[in-house]
Symmetry: C2
């Protein structure tokens, strides 16, 4: 499907019609597709890496920065992680038809609430091409049809993955329209699809702030945003400092461009003199640039002076912000002001501090003595995720199978009226 030849109305109607079919595919047939896809992707790792290399080279040539390249570049391990997620999804129960409530009413009616698919889902995303596989897998297992429109910088990789999906669907006797991977769709074409409110049930926007803002401003279909992860770690006065150093360090280093990476460390003043020099040393030793407030810099001259706008920034690179706070109140006020509602952690040995922090901070995931990087659908047992929602509506945090369903009522009676 070429950019010029994309007929928006046809894509939308096809998605809508496919959603009537995908809603009633039996669980075991859906699982067979996911397992088949995992196998065929694994068998084709060299081809996928070759196409990915092409995308990365093209992106570098056209001047994309290292942050974009990091989000684009695949390795064997990442692909293996994704096929593991496809298999995990196959092993999870099917959410469609699950009864979430059953209640006899005083007038003799029997009411039950059950899960149905959302319908036709459109996803507009950037970077990381393996999203294509995971997004299809989650939509498909939850009975939805999907239209996937990835970034053009990943066009070759996404196109290749789309062909694997199509081939496996065909091989399993499924309608291939349940997953339409758009090839080199322009921004205008993707946005045009978000106007099809009668045919598309949900738009997921996953990427940088500008993309999400454009989709939100344009769409007539309800939008779920997966955008900024400005994740904080607060190191309390009672923290085990060795543990705190490890959690803060790996939280940035293990995946600097991930949305659940630690972007800002808040340090309780009481422990700053011992913790800050050690922490800055650990970061600098691992190649991380630390942007600290004046006190941080005076305690650890290897840190650079932060500009005001460095707080609240999602660096997506080997950079982290650091600030000293008077205590929990100031830490929470900082998070309220600068956070994005994604993930925050507290490192503390004090039960009451942990309870106060988790009660007061209302991000999609709040952790005690653990890395921000655990806010992830696979890590939390959802099998995989189609994104991490930073809005409270519909789904907050990692979106897995259940989050791609709606609940509706079925009521049985014997002639009741009112």
């Amino acid at each position: 499907m070429s950019s010029s030849g994309l007929e928006i109305g046809v894509v939308a109607r096809r998605a809508r019609e496919a959603s009537l079919l995908s809603a009633i595919i039996p669980t075991e047939r859906k699982n067979a597709v996911l397992l088949g896809l995992a196998d065929s992707v694994e068998a084709a790792i060299p081809i996928i890496l070759m196409m990915n290399n092409k995308d990365v080279a093209d992106a570098a040539k056209s001047g994309h920065d290292e942050r974009t390249l990091a989000r684009l570049r695949l390795g064997k391990e990442a692909i293996a992680q994704t096929t593991a997620r496809l298999r995990a999804l196959a092993a999870l129960p099917d959410p469609v038809g699950v009864v979430t409530l059953e209640r006899p009413l005083p007038n003799g009616l029997m009411a039950r609430r059950e899960r149905i698919p959302l319908g036709a889902i459109m996803m507009i995303y950037e970077g990381w091409p393996l999203i294509t596989l995971e997004a299809f897998a989650i939509c498909f297992k939850s009975g939805n049809a999907c239209v996937l429109s990835g970034g053009n910088e990943a066009a070759e990789t996404n196109g290749t993955l789309g062909k694997f999906i199509e081939a496996v669907l065909k091989g399993c006797g499924m309608p291939t329209e349940v997953c339409q991977v758009l090839h080199r769709a322009s921004r205008e074409e993707s946005l045009a699809l978000t106007l099809e409110e009668a045919l598309i049930d949900l738009v997921i926007a996953r990427g940088e702030v500008e993309l999400v803002r454009a989709v939100r401003a344009h769409s007539r279909v309800p939008v779920i945003a997966h955008d900024r992860g400005v994740c904080h770690v607060f190191v309390d006065a009672s923290a085990n400092l060795e543990m705190a150093t490890r959690i803060c360090a790996t939280g940035k280093i293990s995946a600097p461009a991930a949305c659940n990476a630690t972007e800002c460390v808040l340090v309780h003043r009481d422990i700053a003199p011992s913790f800050v020099p050690a922490m800055v040393g650990a970061y600098v030793g691992a190649g991380v640039r630390v942007l600290g407030d004046a006190e941080v810099v005076s305690l650890a001259p290897a840190a650079h002076a932060a500009a005001p706008e460095d707080f609240g920034r999602e660096f997506l690179s080997l950079t982290v912000a650091m600030r000293i706070v008077d205590g929990m109140d100031e830490a929470v006020a900082h998070i309220d002001r600068y956070g994005s509602g994604h993930t925050e952690a507290i490192i503390t040995a004090d039960e009451r501090s942990a309870a106060w922090f988790t009660g007061r901070v209302r991000s999609s995931c709040v952790l005690v003595n653990a890395s921000t990087r655990f806010n992830d659908g696979f890590q939390l047992g959802l099998g995989a995720e189609i994104g991490i929602s930073t809005q409270r509506l519909h789904a907050y945090g990692p979106m897995g199978l259940e989050e791609l369903t709606a609940q509706r009522w079925i009521v049985r009676g014997s002639g009741q009226t009112r």
Copy 2:
């Protein structure tokens, strides 16, 4: 607060700040407010009816049609029904803090998911002034702050109810900012509030299609729509015809302007010769105008010929559409094409037909042998409802307490990293 003096930024910021307070009010104190409100409203029924009479008279004078007047006019029974709902809400469990999942993870982390309020909710609505009380009560019990902007045709009634809410909050030592009832806000002012995406978490639009469309087109905050209820009853060949007549008749007559009123009856061809004349007779006898297709009119000349656009219409008056269909496939195709996803019912004695219909039709509530009018939060045991969502996202169908919460994760560890 007068229309000209309304400072949008102040209202939005006040709602946001109030939402931090409302989130942590203990259950028993919230219940005391609801019970106090029920008492004070009951004690003031004559005043409320007086103000309501003024609104109705003004609306009639300024040329509003009977449909609008019907949605505006209150009676003692309606107020008593609402105070019963306030008491039912007080008796229901508090959704805030409810743990919906608790799971140890293989790496020793303990993850749980719990309900938190959505935050600051803005509701833009028309007609029925008792929505003001129910909307406040549901938002408040679920820990949310709210801004309520009702239609100007109900300004006096809504203003009076707002004063009762304020007085009860004050009397119970609560911050009155948790409920801001806007007085005679212009459409522009209400819409301006929907741009405050950093301060308002959810906009509920409840009213006619034009209002909902305007809010959706304008808002930067996620919107839940409560708009059209184009509810169908399909009378199957095996239906008990006496039961079918009763369900179809009361489904329209008992509340012609309600969103869950029956708007269209689909009749299986096999029983049309006996059912249609009896049904049309029952309707006409009760003052209901029937708009039928050619076959309906030929079987029952008291019916009027329907225009094509009469199918898919929400009449909101003593009018109903009727059509003869070849069977379930045609009935479902009609609903797919003309329905609004609100409520549909089948009248049948055949178990398999019931199962097929409820499986195939995916409206927010599908009923077997019962009236469409049971798709209502109070009837389904939710205590009350802030609206009936006709979109699948976040909440589908009646929105009660749970539907005004989000779920977030709390994860406790002992130093885990990845």
